[in-house]
């Protein structure tokens, strides 16, 4: 595999972010607790600069290019996800400023790890070779294990880390085994070559087993049933800004590789894998939405709800027959998903005080009277999560459902719609707490400009894309896999 020097130019944004992460990690050892805010601001700056480095070649009209012997692709598809992931990173850091600053744990390394996880996701979404994807995925996952347990003396946090680690490592083992079977059956690891040999070669049971195991490994990463058990625990136990990040960043990256591996790698075998994905999708929607019904902790409820959303998003993968429609509906849905989840978790960040207090549904009681703006914005996010117009969540869900319908998955769409009705029940419990129940005692609520700005930006976009989704739809169409 010959590497041209020009290949390096394509990964400049990733290289920059890696360097920034390393510098900040080292710098963090030298700063006092009061100066940690500086580190956070520098991390935001480096994420923004990375965004610029990505945007410059894209705006110069550079088309899709491949580098490192087909291991890395710089195309519109990866760019779409990278921008979303960077934005999620910025929002997470804004959420963390006070949250980590007030905690008894030095926060310097926190930001470095966040940047490393982001680099991992960026490489993931650009990966076009099973091994580059795997390595990037591990870079992301290893940083995440540490972040989940960052509040290491809080039992909940370290337990979340341990569970996440055990199940995550287990799932990468399964994924790796699947990759080895694919390698054994096709003799190659690059997605393009795998796809070629699937077309040319005979159908082998080894390959089908490999595809199934790769799917199982990825089901873990997107938290879809029956491999979802870690998600509610980890979302509940991790520090809230990290839960917000977990709910968005890794999911986006995992969906990106899921779609890329299955559409451009295993696409020609679609008759074998659609059934498995359909089954997982159905199970995921039911488990996530029914599980959420019983939760009292808002973070845990959002964890279950995001399992439900993973089930909806799988519908887009099933629309392999009308691939462009299915894929663009996934892109749009995930954008909406990122906005509304970041926003909803952000409000939990504002409500939360030390030691995980303020996470229960009851802690939202009477919020509408104390802070009408916050309550109104939360209603917007919850409506969007439930998929009620005029919000971005509705647009995304609508497109996914119609893609699945067009692909002939009628019963699955019907189930998804039914589960949307169920989801309204638990989302509206929070609305009820905020508006219909009188608050008892004083409401824990802190004003925090950084978080407020981030939340309002998410809210504005959620509403705007709900009313006028055309720009996003056009963008998604331009960013499909070629």
């Amino acid at each position: 595999m010959p590497f041209a020097p020009s290949d390096m130019a394509l990964i400049v944004p990733e290289l920059f972010l890696t360097a920034a992460g390393l510098v900040l990690l080292v710098a963090a050892t030298a700063v006092s607790r009061a100066q940690e805010k500086q580190i956070a601001l520098w991390s935001i700056a480096s994420l923004v600069v990375t965004g610029f480095l990505l945007a410059v070649p894209a705006s110069a009209g550079a088309g899709a290019r491949s580098a490192f012997g087909g291991m890395f692709a710089a195309d519109g598809y990866s760019l779409f996800f990278k921008v979303l992931i960077l934005a999620a990173g910025v929002v997470t850091i804004l959420f963390s400023l006070r949250f980590v600053g007030d905690s008894p744990y030095p926060g310097g390394e926190y930001y470095g790890l966040l940047l490393f996880a982001t680099v991992g996701m960026m490489f993931m979404v650009s990966g076009t070779h099973l091994i580059s994807i795997y390595v990037a995925l591990e870079l992301m996952a290893l940083s995440q294990y540490v972040l989940a347990g960052y509040f290491k003396r809080e039992t909940k946090s370290i337990e979340a880390a341990a569970k996440y680690f055990v199940l995550g490592a287990f799932s990468s083992g399964v994924l790796l085994y699947g990759i080895s079977l694919v390698f054994g059956a096709t003799g190659s690891l690059s997605l393009a070559a795998v796809s070629r040999s699937i077309v040319l070669g005979p159908k082998s049971p080894l390959l089908v087993l490999g595809i199934i195991l790769v799917a199982c490994g990825l089901f873990f990463k997107i938290a879809s049933a029956p491999f979802h058990v870690w998600a509610p625990d980890v979302y509940e136990g991790a520090p809230t800004p990290i839960s917000a990040f977990f709910a968005v960043g890794p999911k986006l990256a995992a969906y990106a590789i899921f779609a890329r591996i299955f559409f451009s790698g295993f696409g020609h075998n679609s008759s074998e894998w659609t059934v498995i994905i359909a089954a997982s999708s159905a199970l995921t929607m039911v488990v996530g939405n029914v599980g959420a019904l019983m939760q009292q902790n808002v973070k845990r409820m959002l964890g279950y709800s995001s399992i439900g959303h993973a089930g909806y998003a799988l519908l887009g993968l099933l629309a392999y027959g009308s691939k462009d429609f299915g894929l663009s509906s996934i892109l749009i849905y995930l954008t909406a998903y990122a906005l509304m989840n970041l926003g909803a978790f952000g409000l939990v960040v504002l409500l939360e005080t030390k030691g995980y207090a303020g996470e229960s549904v009851d802690d939202f009681n009477g919020l509408a009277k104390k802070n009408p703006l916050a309550a109104g914005v939360m209603v917007l996010f919850l409506l969007s999560l439930a998929g009620i117009p005029p919000t971005a969540g509705f647009v995304g869900k609508y497109l996914l459902f119609s893609a699945a319908m067009q692909a002939g998955w009628f019963w699955l769409t019907l189930l998804a719609v039914l589960m949307s009705a169920v989801s309204l029940f638990y989302y509206f419990r929070i609305v009820r707490a905020m508006y219909l129940v009188e608050g008892t005692g004083e409401l824990r609520w802190r004003e925090e400009p950084a978080v407020t700005v981030a939340i309002l930006a998410c809210a504005a976009l959620t509403l705007f894309l709900g009313v006028y989704p055309q720009p996003l739809i056009a963008l998604a169409k331009a960013c499909l896999l070629s």
């Binding site: 591990e138 347990g149 370290i158 055990v166 054994g184 003799g187």
Partner: protein, 117 residues
């Protein structure tokens, strides 16, 4: 072992016990199954972790075998990555278990139930 090396060895008068590549595949698969069973059945977090390491190494064996069977060095390259990642994973995983032990005085997954498992 490919025929070229075998005939070279035979010419040199060395007796060669040849093991079919499929045998390595069987061993790899059995090792993976043992690891999988251990990861699912063991209650001690360290044992689970060791089982997962076993799964990874079983995969390494499979990759090497396939690389040999297909004469493709990509499979060998993968093994280096996997070994490196497994080392990093061990470092992080053990650190998490140590912190867990400090917080809970146990690494038994049945007792790690502060969060609903």
């Amino acid at each position: 072992m490919n025929p070229a090396t075998m005939s070279a060895a035979a010419a040199a008068g060395v007796s060669v016990m040849s093991v079919a590549p499929s045998a390595y595949l069987v061993v790899g698969t059995i090792l993976f199954a043992i690891g999988l069973a251990g990861a699912l059945l063991k209650r001690n977090a360290l044992s689970i972790f060791l089982s997962i390491e076993l799964m990874m190494n079983a995969v390494n064996l499979l990759f090497l075998t396939y690389a040999r069977m297909r004469g493709d060095a990509a499979g060998q390259m993968v093994v280096f990555f996997v070994i490196a990642i497994a080392a990093a994973e061990a470092a992080i995983g053990l650190a998490i278990f140590v912190a867990l032990f400090r917080a809970r005085q146990t690494v038994d997954v049945d007792k790690i139930n502060f969060l609903k498992w």
